[in-house]
């Protein structure tokens, strides 16, 4: 089965990019949508960009290399908390945003290496259990180390980045107020810019020696070793990169939110949601991952609250009827969508060529096979 026609006919990426850049600059569309829905779509898109970085990191581990990682949220959290510790006034460090971004990416990657080095020898399901366990351990550690992490309250306030002075005139020219708390578009473009850098990096990696080694390991580890691939090192590199990107997303998340949020923002549900994003979109596919994040996080953060607002405003529900609150149906719709996906399009909406081949490979001719 090949991708349906309407997916093939989707226009090229420059168009999407132009829309994403134009949308906030035109001001008007966002304001109309805000008046209509009560939600700043632009502000929510910022979070979608951040989750896209997180999902792309997870995709390196799960999609490219084929290691089931069930604890990506932990590395997202490590990134957020390292940023918190390095920047909040309660600590003496007070480093700038760029330094915090680099250090939290590095810290999450290091945590990934420390976890991966002894455990990636394990096969398949066992690694999944290890990452699942690590995710929970991290969450409880963040909650219980109150002296360091402020427990369930989280660390705040995380200060916004310092805007270089030379950027102010051009920003004003575009109609953007150079104040992070007054104009959402600063964070919007920061997140979009970082996302583009990550996409560019991964796009190049896909066709590199390392990228091919990841995919060979996903296909067959023994055969990959027979080709001269150092399987444990290659797997570890995927793990480090994936966890590092998660840490980068975490840093951005804490900066945009001005807080690390509580430990529960980095729980198992977050990990599974991210996994759902890449499965829905198409494992191992860049475009697919981005589409999956847009659909699932968009549904969660935009569509569900908007519908709630409509239902309330229309007077159908007085607000205390549980069945008439759309958000309460959210998980059911979510589950239903995933079941239908698995039944009708298991390779995801925009699959990578190889994964699609696997899902729809006819059996080899029988007279010659064992």
């Amino acid at each position: 089965m090949s991708a349906p026609r309407w997916l093939d006919r989707m226009p090229a990426w420059p168009l999407y990019l132009a829309v994403l850049v134009a949308f906030p600059l035109l001001v008007y569309p966002n304001e109309v949508l805000f008046r209509w829905t009560g939600i700043s779509i632009g502000g929510q898109l910022t979070y979608i960009f951040i989750y896209a970085i997180l999902a792309l990191g997870l995709n390196v581990v799960v999609g490219y290399t084929g290691i089931l990682h069930l604890g990506i949220a932990a590395f997202f959290g490590i990134g957020a908390y390292v940023t918190g510790i390095l920047t909040v006034p309660a600590y003496p460090f007070g480093v700038g945003f760029v330094a915090a971004l680099v250090l939290s990416t590095g810290a999450a990657a290091l945590a990934g290496i420390l976890l991966g080095a002894p455990t990636l020898r394990l096969r398949g399901d066992y690694v999944a259990i290890v990452t699942l366990g690590f995710g929970e351990v991290t969450r409880f550690t963040l909650r219980n180390l109150e002296e360091i992490t402020a427990g369930t309250r989280g660390l705040n306030p995380v200060p916004p980045p310092q805007l270089p002075a030379f950027l102010e005139p051009p920003l004003r020219l575009l109609g953007i107020t150079p104040d992070w708390s007054l104009d959402y578009r600063l964070f919007y473009f920061l997140a979009l810019g970082l996302l583009l850098v990550v996409i560019w990096l991964l796009h190049n990696l896909e066709d590199s020696r390392l990228g091919r080694a990841w995919m060979a390991i996903r296909e067959d580890e023994l055969a990959a070793a027979c080709m001269g691939i150092n399987a444990s090192r290659v797997k570890l590199s995927a793990f480090a990169l994936g966890c590092g990107l998660a840490g980068m997303a975490g840093c951005l998340y804490a900066t945009v939110l001005a807080s690390t949020a509580g430990p529960d923002a980095f729980d198992f549900n977050r990990s599974v949601l991210m996994l759902c994003c890449i499965i829905l979109g198409g494992l191992g596919s860049l475009r697919g991952t981005l589409l999956g994040v847009l659909l699932l996080i968009g549904f969660d953060n935009v569509v569900a609250p908007v519908l709630d607002g409509f239902i309330q405003a229309s007077g159908i529900s007085s607000g205390d009827n549980r069945f008439l609150t759309f958000s309460n149906w959210k998980l059911m719709i979510f589950g239903l969508a995933l079941i239908l996906m698995m039944r009708f399009r298991p390779e995801g909406l925009l699959p990578s060529r190889q994964i699609e081949a696997e899902m729809h490979t006819p059996q080899p001719l029988t007279e010659e096979t064992a």
């Binding site: 020696r209 091919r212 080694a213 995919m215 060979a216 296909e219 067959d220 023994l222 055969a223 990959a224 070793a225 027979c226 080709m227 001269g228 691939i229 150092n230 399987a231 190889q354 994964i355 081949a357 696997e358 490979t361 006819p362 080899p364 001719l365 007279e367 010659e368 096979t369 064992a370």
Partner: protein, 237 residues
């Protein structure tokens, strides 16, 4: 001059189970050596152990005089041993071309790789036809050809072939063996594990018989073909 491959009293196994109990064998430059024996004798484990996928617990292995038994698998590939594992183990979702390119993963000489790619398609024209097809969609025989061609892409000094005849029609096996001989004529030494003992011994210069993790009979292919014990147990006469 030392033999190309020298395996000396190697022990290896899985967990508490010892599968190889003191294997010794040699492969000289330019030779085809057949390793025959019943199911579970340890033939596949011997190859896995030589290519570093199953670490030897005791004993030593040398490639052209240099010790290799302590090296990890990917290092051994770089030293010039390519392994075409049992059950073919091609990459099912990669195309035929990509599978062959993976075979050259340890090399960085682009023009050389291009030349060998052309050569592989010359040896197996069917693979050229199926160049952009996913490996998993090939027939069993074509997959085996792909596995051999892929191993060849590493430009090995020594090629380890594990049961190339597995599950294939005799016609196809003959075709594959023909290519194995061609590769050998081009200077690649080959260690061939086979259940199809007669065909293997007709192709090989020398042979070893394995039983219960040990080499029990060794000799030239002609000797083994006429050996009463071999005939009774493996040649089915």
């Amino acid at each position: 001059m030392p033999p190309l491959l020298e395996v000396d009293d190697v022990y290896a196994g899985y967990g508490p189970i010892e599968v190889l109990k003191g294997i010794s064998l040699t492969v000289d430059t330019g030779e085809i050596v057949a390793l025959i024996g019943a199911n579970g004798a340890g033939k596949t484990s011997t190859l896995l152990s030589i290519s570093g996928c199953l670490p030897a617990r005791r004993g030593s292995m040398r490639l052209a005089g240099q010790e290799i038994h302590a090296l990890p698998a990917h290092e051994i590939v770089h030293r010039g041993i390519c392994h075409s594992p049992e059950g073919r183990k091609i990459f099912p979702r990669l195309t035929v071309l990509e599978n062959l390119q993976m075979g050259a993963f340890s090399r960085r000489d682009k023009p050389g790789i291009e030349r060998d790619l052309a050569h592989a398609f010359e040896l197996f024209p069917i693979l050229a036809e199926r160049k952009h097809q996913a490996g998993g969609t090939l027939s069993g025989g074509e997959q085996q050809m792909l596995a051999v061609a892929r191993a060849m892409m590493g430009r090995p000094k020594l090629l380890l072939l594990d049961e190339p005849s597995l599950g294939l029609a005799p016609m196809i096996v003959l075709k594959i063996f023909e290519v194995v001989r061609k590769l050998n004529d081009e200077g690649i030494s080959i260690l061939l594990v086979e259940q199809a003992a007669r065909m293997a011994l007709k192709l090989a210069h020398r042979g070893y018989v394995m039983e219960m993790g040990q080499i029990t009979i060794a000799g030239t292919a002609a000797e083994l073909l006429t050996d009463k014990r071999v005939q009774d147990a493996y040649l089915g006469e």
